[in-house]
Homo-oligomer: 491 residues x 2
């Protein structure tokens, strides 16, 4: 393990936070020049100073580190980076809000940086503007980080990413060279920035003021889900805004590779992308089913309204955004189950969405079908098609093993969370685990859309923050940190 290069890379992350803190300070002054904002100037300066100091220490420790990065070091940087950022990013909450404990602050920051959007604060409208801005901005930074991380690193891990890349090349799924990866990262960043700009302008045109438009853009494009209002997007009372948010949430859950194709007007590839098509079909099915149930049970009388609120909620939870326009906890029980299934499926790989990821669900379904046929035809081997190409055996095994690992993490997290928070109902416990591990944010019952995680024990908050980071980094980058052999110097 080369600790120098790890320090060096961590210093980049800490510097980013220092810059973000100064932006928040400035934004607070721009959008809200009240006494309240002037009162938190010192706190922001302290935060920035601490971050700069830490960045300098990391830089010093990382002096003379080469540029050669091993895979294990890359993984460690990502895992440690997100954890470190969640601790440093917690400073503003801790210093500015009196009611925020250390665990609260870390929970809220991890929630932002992992684009989970689960909150411990009940009254958002009493929080200083600059801190609200940091809360939303952290999601956008996290979303960008995830997309970059996914492109730059998961591509070489083969965890489903090869499928995306291989679409571009003609048959050789192993030809992922660093030059192409770097080129890919830049292109994807442009798409992210472009989508963000478009989203903010559209939100402003739909009637949000610039501050709200920016903050909600941060939360939508990154599928984070932090709003600046207690009643989330419902606060705007505007069908137009709701439909636009639905559209941009759906885009946030779409693979940025597919969006790159769209920008290039290469629609032939878009329609050949198995994951994207499956994503649209699953999202449509959930939306329609919920619309029919809400109409059938008389929860909503009007078809248009039923379609709007159902689509909004299905898209919001499936893309793991977690915005709400209605208290879906009050909807019939069957809708809870459907929404949890949508949360489990999740968004597309290579997007900011969470969940299992549509591509893995599709591969799992295909493997299951093959396995059933093999029960009576033991020798049958059929090539598995994905995006118009054949998915090789290794990729297939990686996807299946990832799913089993995810299932194990879910099933071990459940009793741990239950033990840390005794009185939690099963629905509350299950949906809190899903909401955090799958980066959705709100769940059901005790963690429903109108409630939050404020009354959780300190230990439960820290545990859930760890789950968010694990889920966001697709498990490995955090799990390897617990592997003793990672830390051996020469291996």
């Amino acid at each position: 393990m080369n600790y120098r290069i790890i320090s060096k890379l961590l210093s980049v992350i800490v510097t980013t936070l220092a810059v973000a803190f100064l932006i928040c300070l400035g934004m607070g002054q721009t959008f809200d020049t009240s006494v309240r904002e002037d009162g938190v100037l010192d706190e922001w300066l302290i935060c920035s100073a601490v971050a700069v100091a830490l960045a300098l220490i990391c830089m010093l420790l990382g002096r003379g580190a080469g540029n050669k990065l091993l895979r294990k070091e890359a993984l460690a940087v990502i895992g440690l980076g997100w954890i470190l950022a969640s601790v440093i990013g917690a400073l503003p909450y801790y210093l500015i809000l009196e009611e925020a404990s250390v665990a609260d602050s870390i929970f809220e920051t991890a929630s932002g940086l992992t684009t989970t959007g689960a909150s411990v604060f009940s009254n958002l409208e009493s929080i200083p503007t600059s801190l609200l801005f940091w809360r939303c901005l952290s999601q956008w930074i996290g979303g960008l980080g995830v997309v970059v991380f996914f492109v730059a690193l998961l591509s070489s891990l083969g965890a489903g990413a090869k499928i995306l890349f291989s679409n571009e090349s003609s048959g050789h799924s192993t030809d992922i060279d660093s030059g192409r990866v770097q080129h890919g990262v830049l292109q994807i960043m442009y798409v992210y920035l472009g989508l963000s700009a478009l989203c903010a302008v559209v939100f402003h045109l739909c009637g949000m003021n610039w501050f709200d438009a920016l903050c909600h853009m941060f939360a939508t494009v990154s599928t984070g889900g932090f709003s600046t209002y207690n009643s989330s997007v419902g606060a705007f009372q505007s069908p137009t805004i709701e439909w636009m948010v639905t559209l941009f949430m759906a885009l946030g859950g779409t693979s940025f590779f597919v969006m790159l194709r769209m920008v290039k007007c290469d629609f032939r590839h878009v329609w050949r992308n198995t994951e994207f098509i499956a994503y649209l079909i699953i999202m449509g099915t959930f939306s329609i089913l919920i619309t029919l149930i809400l109409l059938g049970e008389g929860v909503v009388g009007d078809f248009n309204e039923a379609l709007r609120v159902s689509t909004f909620q299905a898209v919001s939870l499936m893309t793991s955004t977690g915005f709400s326009t209605a208290d879906f906890q009050m909807w019939p029980n069957v809708v809870h189950t459907l929404l949890m299934m949508a949360m489990i499926v999740g968004g597309c790989s290579g997007s900011t969405g969470g969940g299992t990821k549509v591509v893995r669900v599709v591969v799992a379904l295909k493997v299951a079908r093959q396995q059933i046929e093999r029960a009576f035809r033991t020798r049958v081997v059929r090539p598995m098609h994905m995006n118009g190409r054949i998915l090789d055996k290794d990729d297939q095994e990686n996807v299946i093993n990832y799913i089993v690992l995810l299932a194990i993490v879910c099933l071990l997290s459940l009793p741990v969370l239950a033990l840390l928070q005794h009185e939690l109902s099963f629905e509350g416990c299950f949906s809190a685990m899903l909401a955090c591990l799958f980066n959705v944010g709100p769940g059901f019952n005790e963690v429903g859309p109108t409630l939050n995680y404020s009354y959780f024990s300190e230990a439960a908050k820290i545990f859930l923050a760890l789950l968010m980071i694990m889920g966001r980094l697709e498990l490995y980058a955090v799990l390897v940190l617990f592997t003793p052999s990672l830390w051996k110097r020469f291996s």
Copy 2:
């Protein structure tokens, strides 16, 4: 597909039912010579006559069938056999009980034959003795069928069974010849019969009358869980009986191969059996955790009582028996979550227990560990040990694919059940799905230990009955029936 041989084999199953019906008739007269029993004589004769007639038809259709059985036909016989038996076995309920609908009767029979033990009848104590006897006997027949099926057929499918067999041979995991399978089936049947006899005698010595001892033996050895009393094993109010039932439930969930080793006093192999050791450790952990929680939360004041009720419930749900001595629905929420985890783990492979099976959980954990290490050491390959031997790659893949298939079945069943039974809470829906698919019986909330499935819709009952059969036959034997290519004549 050779339909003749399928008919021939189905006739064996139907004949078994006809004999069982006549035994029930006799037992009713032996244990209860009241007018009530005389009133149902005709019904039993009709049932037997129908079964005999059907058996004859099957025999006629199967005339001239050879002895050569293809794997696909074997699978089809098992799947169709369990479904057919659930329909024919439903006749007595339908004819004798006025309140029983067709769906009720099929649900109850499937529940018995799959050793699930989920019931639609609220007042058992009003049911004629002979029918109560059939209800319990059906579990014992089902349990025997599962053990035989597992030994005879899954062994050649490689779904984890090779691991058990390979322990006997010295390194060649492929040498499963039909002679050894036949020999194995007989030996396992002797163990099943021996365990049954021992269990019935012990229950009688502990204070049950012979009828109760027999019926509870049927339910315990097969991990079925149908009692003859509304308050299940709690009705006896006897700590001795509770501990003895706990012991025999634990044995019911133990691999019959391991028990065969025990009978042969070959304890060296028993302690080297990874699955058995893991089974004991997991069962012990759940029992102790629940004991501590019940004491800590003041639900039970006395340590001995807490240990007894906790161990009973943990063993009951983990082995998928489903007996209860207390209303565990009233226990703290954290216990619900723990008990559901125990249900998911399940018993040992090669036992009558349900669930995922301990061996698969162990393999999944080992694969997960390997997968984490592979995230930074892509080329590392470590041999996986199981029962002191190396588990080959194919077996490993089969286990992992089975788990993914099981996860898919669970996650697709949830919304289907929710749609069939709108008002079911998430905890009720999730635990009903688990309780049926994993052959446990009782669940939580709406399907808690003091409640039953009587108020479910007809469609939901049939769906759950199908889940029970799927779960009992480890999915494949039922799922292949829905594969069109199975039914092609030449393939």
